[in-house]
């Protein structure tokens, strides 16, 4: 069991958890994730490690509360313990590529942070493009600014940065500065697909980090399989990063929706029981 040391709400429905697990903290490399189990009745969920501190023996997870498990995780308190296993997945291959554009959308900014940090450490010129629906959903701005040489923001509603999508910002960047050596895009599947389609004709090397349904996270169930260049690959052990131009995003997006109905049942049930208890407690 790993103890939660700190919990902080960093944006509406986004929480940051500092978890004590010295073994994972020491081994963690950018791009890797952990599987988390809250309790006996919980499901196992993959969460990317946003940061680690080997000296303090902690990892940082940033979780957007979208379903039952992540909402339930949000009710935990510092001092509570959860089961964590990892670090899993292949680390990001980092070297001095030259100019790297790091594109993060919504919750995807969290896994992007350690990669941008590693690229910065390796001497790259790091250009970050971060997007969200509104200003407050563009998370980790301070941390990303620290590791970026240039940073651009986009929001759907224009409340912050440029109104529009991250792809527009990428277009503008390339127009003004020429082609980068590497693009890394992490965010919703539609966003990653759009970036892939944008860089494909330009021949820009592009990586994406995929977030698929997993149970064990060690290559045993095959639930996370995606088509990469027409061949099955497991996101948990072969990924989570892949060449964006080789990914079959359409099938992947279908597969992400496998349990949509059940997820909604669980979410609604959880909210109802939660509200009931709150009412009962208040009454």
């Amino acid at each position: 069991m790993a103890r939660i040391l700190e919990i902080e709400e960093i944006a509406p429905s986004f929480k940051s958890y500092i978890i004590h697990d010295p073994v994972i903290a020491r081994r963690h490399r950018a791009g890797q994730f952990v599987m988390v189990l809250l309790h006996e009745h919980s499901e196992r969920i993959p969460l990317t490690i946003a940061d680690s501190d080997a000296v303090r023996g902690t990892i940082r997870l940033i979780v957007q509360e979208v379903g039952k498990t992540t909402m339930e995780m949000g009710t935990l308190q510092p001092g509570d313990s959860i089961q964590v296993v990892g670090p899993l997945g292949k680390p990001t291959h980092v070297e001095n590529f030259g100019t790297c554009v790091c594109i993060g959308g919504g919750a995807g900014i969290a896994p992007l942070l350690p990669i941008a940090l590693a690229l910065d450490d390796a001497g790259n010129h790091v250009v970050s493009i971060l997007g969200g629906r509104t200003q407050e959903l563009v998370i980790l701005r301070r941390e990303m600014e620290e590791v970026s040489d240039e940073i651009y923001y986009t929001t759907d509603d224009g409340s912050f940065g440029t109104k529009g999508l991250v792809t527009h910002a990428l277009d503008r960047y390339i127009e003004d500065n020429g082609q980068p050596q590497l693009v890394i895009a992490i965010g919703p599947a539609v966003m990653m697909r759009a970036v892939a389609e944008q860089t494909r004709p330009l021949g820009i090397r592009t990586l994406v980090s995929l977030n698929t349904i997993m149970i064990d996270g060690t290559g045993m169930c095959g639930g996370c399989r995606v088509r990469i260049n027409g061949e099955n690959r497991f996101v948990c052990v072969d990924g989570p990063e892949f060449d964006a131009h080789a990914v079959d995003f359409d099938r992947m997006m279908q597969r992400q929706r496998i349990y949509l109905e059940q997820e909604e049942v669980a979410r609604r049930r959880y909210l109802e029981s939660h509200n009931c208890r709150a009412v009962a407690g208040g009454g």
């Binding site: 095959g222 669980a266 049930r269």
Partner: protein, 504 residues
């Protein structure tokens, strides 16, 4: 007992049927199907044993249990002694009595079986093990004085548990590393409750804990720590790798990534480990719809068919490209599946998964097969029959055609030799890998096989590890074993490709 029975009288006793839950009733629950012998049945069954002078059953037992001796003890009602005889060679009798393919092992060569049915050795093994468990007082093996050596066992499935037990008895300090959050490996995530109650596995693990074995769950060797680190800074003197065959094979046909196609591993893990059958009380969902096809006819496939029925599926179809005679499942599993209403389509192979525009499975196109010449596995090769294709309407497809070696640990371990299928190569007999002090056994070495073979390998490896630690030759010279088995010699590989499906 009274007077000694004659051989003729023994042969005249019919084999005692296994009491079982009624098929119509049991498909609505997850309780164990086979209920076990009563004392009277067990004694009566044991009396059928001819107590051969040169018992062939012992030779066919992968761990060489003294079967006639334990069966004889049962005839006399000396059940505790019978169990002690089994436990001398097999630390997990309650499990093996339930999941061993006896008809291919001890019962296959049983002389009583030459003219009639063989002695039900597996059921007797289960009986004596259960009797002790139910009596509440499980006799613990006596462990030797602490040796001062620290051994890590990677994987808590059958190979790992058997190895850990044998090492603990020798007085070593044993830690078992498990990647999942519960120990037991395939006994927990794979084999369903109705075939192997989880309480039995938990009891076995508790016994090991009492013997001083420590279980570290949520620890993926290769990711959380490497073999090199365990042997270095973590201070392990030796390691045993028993990580099993945990990489599901898919069919390689069109449409197999549609919504509704999953591996047997995924389906069984959702149900057994994550308790998905009790969604939404448990958070992990299972959604297979009402009409399901299971591809394959090994034990894993049978487990899937029967689990699907228990989840309330109206129609469960089993697709297998050979005939019932070649099906790798235990006979009892096939019979139980038939009784429960699984629709077996022998000589039928899926050729394409059919789906709608949203990528949701709507059916499968299958092709009829006929048997041809034997292939490398010795079984007749299935040959497609032209123009025999037809479509079956389905909500989901579960792929149970076997597992390969999981590459997570082997890829993360420098200097660990594997064959071209990713299986760890070991020296014959000693089971040492290409890394000194690191041993391996079970499915990660042989490819998907059985619980008992994995246990046998775990136990034998423990003997080598014990010798290795104490600095005595791992292979006694008097055994007349030639070179290639000494410490440091190149590991032997298995050149014969195995094509047999999942048969644990």
């Amino acid at each position: 007992m009274g007077r000694e029975l004659t051989k003729k009288e023994r042969l005249e006793i019919p084999r005692n049927a296994m009491p079982a839950q009624d098929p119509a009733e049991r498909v609505c629950n997850f309780d164990e199907v086979a209920l076990g012998y009563t004392e009277e049945m067990a004694v009566g069954e044991a009396e059928r044993c001819l107590e051969c002078k040169k018992p062939k059953c012992v030779d066919s037992c992968p761990v060489g249990i003294d079967i006639p001796a334990f069966v004889h003890a049962v005839t006399d009602g000396r059940f505790a002694e019978a169990l002690a005889i089994i436990k001398a060679d097999n630390t997990l009798p309650a499990i093996c009595g339930r999941v061993c393919p006896q008809e291919d092992q001890c019962e296959k060569t049983c002389v009583t079986g030459n003219k009639g049915d063989p002695v039900a050795i597996g059921r007797l093994e289960r009986f004596v093990a259960d009797r002790e468990r139910e009596g509440g007082e499980v006799k613990m093996p006596v462990c030797k004085e602490p040796s001062g050596f620290k051994v890590g066992v990677i994987g808590s499935g059958p190979a790992g548990l058997a190895c850990a037990a044998a090492l603990a008895i020798e007085g070593h300090d044993v830690t078992v590393f498990e990647a999942l959050h519960k120990p037991g490996g395939v006994l927990i995530y794979g084999i369903p409750e109705f075939r192997l109650p989880k309480a039995i596995v938990r009891d076995e693990i508790r016994s090991l804990t009492k013997m001083g074995v420590e279980f570290k769950c949520n620890f993926v060797v290769g990711s959380t720590a490497t073999i090199e680190e365990l042997m270095g800074e973590w201070g392990y003197d030796s390691l045993f790798i028993g990580t099993g065959a945990g990489l599901p094979y898919f069919m390689g046909i069109a449409g197999e990534n549609m919504i509704g196609v999953c591996s047997a591993n995924e389906f069984l893990t959702r149900v057994n480990l994550m308790r998905g059958f009790d969604f939404p009380k448990y958070d992990t969902p299972v959604a297979i719809g009402r009409r399901v096809a299971v591809v394959g006819a090994g034990n894993v496939a049978m487990d899937c068919c029967r689990t699907a029925l228990r989840l309330g599926c109206e129609k469960v179809i089993c697709l297998y490209r050979r005939t019932r005679g070649e099906a790798p499942a235990r006979l009892e599993e096939l019979e139980h599946a038939e009784e429960e209403g699984v629709d077996f389509r022998w000589l039928t192979a899926p050729v394409e998964v059919l789906g709608n525009d949203d990528g949701v499975v709507t059916g499968v196109r299958v092709q009829k097969m006929k048997l041809g010449e034997p292939d490398l596995s010795g079984r007749p090769r299935p040959v497609p029959i032209e123009g025999s294709e037809y479509e079956v309407e389905l909500d989901s497809i579960i792929v149970g055609i076997g597992q390969g070696a999981n590459p997570l640990l082997t890829q993360a371990t420098e200097g660990l030799d594997v064959d071209k299928r990713g299986r760890i190569m070991t020296q014959e007999i000693t089971q040492m890998t290409s890394i000194p002090g690191v041993f391996a056994g079970g499915d990660i070495v042989t490819g998907a096989a059985t619980v008992i073979l994995a246990m046998g390998a775990g136990k034998l490896a423990a003997r080598s590890i014990d010798c290795y630690l104490r600095g005595v030759p791992m292979v006694p010279e008097m055994d007349g074993v030639d070179e290639g088995t000494e410490v440091g010699a190149p590991p032997a590989s298995d050149p014969e490709p195995r094509t047999q499906n999942n048969v644990h």
